[in-house]
Amino acid sequence: MRPEDILLPTAAGVCCSRGGFHIDPTRIVERALITHAHSDHARAGHGAVLATQQTLDLMRLRYGDNFAGRTQAIRYGESVRLDGVTVTFHPAGHVLGSAQIAVEANGLRIVASGDYKNVADPTCAPFALVRCDVFITEATFALPVFRHGDPAAEINKLLRSVALFPERAHLVGAYSLGKAQRLIALLRLAGYTAPIYLHGAMEKITDYYVARGIPLGELRLVRGATKADLAGAITICPPAALNDLWTRRFPEPLAAFASGWMRVRARARQQGVALPLVISDHADWDGLTATIAATGAGEIWVTHGQEDALVHWCTARGLKARPLDIVGYGDEDETDAAEATSEEPS
């Protein structure tokens, strides 16, 4: 039996015809298994959705109560039989509720990892390694130039800048789901206790994180704050807001951006970022290659990102590897724009 007989990669995502479902489909389908709530993986309108409770909650927050016909929650480690196929969800360490989905049939196990990172994150369950025959991996940062380093050092960089420029408002662009809350949690871990200001687009999701028992300290909304409040304060906003009219309310705003892309200077400069913070919710090159090796998989399917480099790396190590041409997955830091800007009037 070939892996493709269980999971078939199509332009709209991987499809399991035996089990009658798609994983993270980019178009509307009858039955969808969703790895995590980022909008390029979790779309509204499917007939039925199977995902973790947090992913379902987050989808509801973003899309409203009627985001799917039916929903079913599944816990980490829990298995479900779907027409002769067994699926099990395991933590992916990407954002709150994110999962890798293991699909098994006839003794063959394929793991669709969605987006993942194998480093500590105080806001979500840690990545669990699942041994498998075929590993489907993302390739967002699949070039050896991407090594994310220690996020604590990046947080220190931000705090030093706040100390050096106490009259300037520090605006940190961070994706509203996951990155923003992780950033706040990291600031608190570094001992920063001052109130942190939030762009309106982050309010609901951040409240949800707090409600799930993740301590984030004192948070305030930018709406209603004065210029004097914002001077020397840290404000978290969607990346797209950094260049928006919205920034005009801040005293001498200093633009920071928390993303794995910030490792490359040109990327930071193109976006007018003065303080790049290399903090990523995706595995870096070392993380990707170490994880691939540790799964024991003999065959690797590579999606969204720098597929060429990762396929080359796998092939050089005698692994069978192929890129999947799935249309529609992006990088959340870049797809944030559309959602972020309209939510708060300027």
């Binding site: 070039l143 380093g149 050096l164 480099a309």
Partner: protein, 555 residues
């Protein structure tokens, strides 16, 4: 090395001048001697390591990385130093101690190291440093930090450390050498002011105020002398007798030494003295356009070919010192006589006098300014930017004192163009669309179409910036990264009145021409884009300029 690398890293991202200053001053305050002195040397471009080339860095990474992965990475990152810094494999047993490698140690080691030992030493350092440290090291040794800091800015930052005027540093600078211990001691109040032993120092220049025609009513023509304002680079050429023969130096208006780029001109400075003048390119006794001068300025290597194709020339305005005699307390009229005598004694074809413009009434001067060709500038009229008015009794005062010197620029060229693309600005303007590409009409394949003729990012008021920004956001028809294409149809769009100082043919632009110093003069909300100017009008302007019949349009 870590603190220095971190400084460079922050500077590379910070667009605002004042924030850059703060970063550097903060570094100077916290880093000790001699570390900060070497950093100052690096920032002012006072260091060079001839053996470290980009090729060496390439071969180091080739020994350590998969070539396919390197090429894919380099292609993505687009900068060799950065690619190598990021993908340098960290040894499994890290050498450690990266934080202990000081900039001082790097510089001292490099200055004593032979060429053959260099690759190994560099590799050892790269093994021990982190990404930022590796990037900074590679930038440092291969030359050209390119972090948007001029030598002048670095000196201003060091001045701020002791609350001094940057100018004081500029004056002391030629007498100082890295790691500048005595300079830091003085700035921190631990030592006296370093004495400049320099015999060929830079002297702070005197600058002019712009003249409005209304000012003329208050001024008496007989009190003034006038000369052309040439469109080149204001420089100071200084020569002095040193212990090993004649020392000759060329300084920019801001006091940066630019001697290295102009060996041809230095040869001409064989009499001790200090000339204030304009750097020009002369071919067959004709002053070339600023565009031509720029081609020489932009070159890194000064080759014999460059010297032959772009011969440098000094047109003298003023004499600040004759041998060791300081002339700055003499009147302009007296200095002018001394200058005429000095240039005659120098007797070198590379240095000549900027001629005086004869006039007895303001009307005569007005006419000369409007038509320099017929008022003595002759064939060089195209390189005249306007006239300078100098009081006969004016002493040479540093800075920009109001009254003794005036610059009276020619009226600019003006056209009506249509806004085509807008891009967000930097720093304070980063949320505003403040860089504008504008075009004029021409015959296209399917009727009239707009062809871009230039780009402008200033000239408008803050209020106008808000208006244009709003217009751009509401009338975007397409986006290309940070650039927005705005509507530009005959009956829909925004007409900009663009003023500019000159016009040159250019093969780099689709329109075939390039504007000098374009800026937004006025917003023409009242004018439909269809009535904006056509390319033919600019072509007529160029033809007139080339025939020396300047500014006939500016009636």
């Amino acid at each position: 090395m870590n603190r220095f690398a971190e400084l460079l890293d922050c500077l590379a991202y910070e667009p605002a001048r004042n924030a850059k200053l703060r970063l550097i001053t903060d570094y100077f305050r916290s880093a000790g001697d001699p570390e900060r002195g070497w950093a100052l040397a690096a920032l002012t471009g006072s260091l060079s390591f001839p053996h470290a080339k980009a090729g060496l860095i390439r071969s180091l990474i080739a020994e350590r990385a998969d070539p396919v992965l390197f090429e894919l990475s380099y292609d993505y990152v687009g900068d060799l130093s950065e690619t190598v810094a990021l993908m340098w494999p960290v040894p499994s047993a890290p050498a450690g101690g990266g934080g202990n490698i000081s900039l001082t140690a790097v510089i001292e080691t490099l200055s004593s190291l032979g060429k053959a030992q260099l690759p190994q030493q560099l590799a050892r350092w790269l093994d021990a440093l982190d990404e930022t440290g590796r990037w900074a090291l590679i930038k440092l040794v291969t030359g050209g930090l390119r972090v948007g800091v001029s030598a002048r800015l670095a000196k201003a930052a060091v001045a701020a450390l002791g609350d001094k005027d940057p100018h004081d540093i500029e004056l002391l600078w030629p007498g100082l050498a890295p790691p500048y211990r005595e300079l830091f001691a003085w700035l921190e109040g631990r030592g006296g002011k370093p004495v400049t032993a320099d015999v060929a120092p830079f002297r702070p220049p005197m600058l002019a105020h712009a003249l409005e025609e209304a000012d003329l009513a208050q001024l008496t023509a007989a009190d003034f002398m006038a000369e052309w304002k040439w469109d080149g680079i204001r420089v100071q050429a200084v020569a002095a007798r040193g212990s090993h023969g004649m020392i000759a130096r060329l300084y920019s208006r801001t006091g940066e030494e630019i001697s290295k780029g102009f060996p041809d001109l230095l040869e001409a400075l064989h009499l001790p003295g200090a000339i204030d003048g304009e750097l020009l390119i002369m071919r067959e006794h004709r002053v070339q356009s600023f565009n031509v001068l720029q081609q020489r300025l932009n070159r890194k290597a000064v080759t014999p070919k460059l010297l032959a194709e772009f011969p440098a020339h000094l047109r003298a305005y003023d004499l600040l010192a004759d041998d060791t005699e300081d002339l700055r307390d003499y009147s302009f009229a007296e200095r002018r006589k001394r200058l005429e005598d000095f240039v005659a004694r120098l007797n070198d074809e590379r240095v000549d006098l900027s001629p005086l413009v004869r006039f007895s009434t303001w009307d005569e001067l007005f006419a000369a300014r409007k038509n320099p060709a017929s008022a003595g500038a002759g064939e060089d009229a195209a390189a005249v930017e306007g006239v300078m008015l100098k009081r006969r009794d004016a002493l040479y005062l540093p800075g920009r004192p109001k009254g003794p010197w005036w610059k009276w620029k020619r009226d600019p060229f003006v056209i009506d163009a249509v806004l085509m693309y807008a891009q967000r600005g930097h720093g304070k303007r980063s949320s505003y669309y403040s860089d504008y590409t504008f075009g004029v009409w021409t015959n296209g394949k399917s009727g009239d179409e707009l062809v871009p003729v230039g780009k402008a990012y200033f000239g408008f008021t803050d209020e106008e910036l808000l208006q244009i920004d709003r217009f751009v956001r509401r009338n975007t028809v397409d986006r290309f990264g940070p650039v927005r294409e705005v509507v530009h149809e005959p009956d829909q769009g925004l007409v900009l009145e663009v003023a500019f100082e000159g016009l040159q043919r250019s093969t780099r632009h689709k329109s075939g021409l390039a504007m000098r110093f374009p800026r937004i003069n006025r917003l023409r909300w009242d004018k439909p884009p269809g009535e904006a100017d056509r390319l033919e009008r600019l072509e007529t302007m160029i033809a007139r300029i080339e025939q020396g019949r300047l500014h006939e349009h500016a009636s």
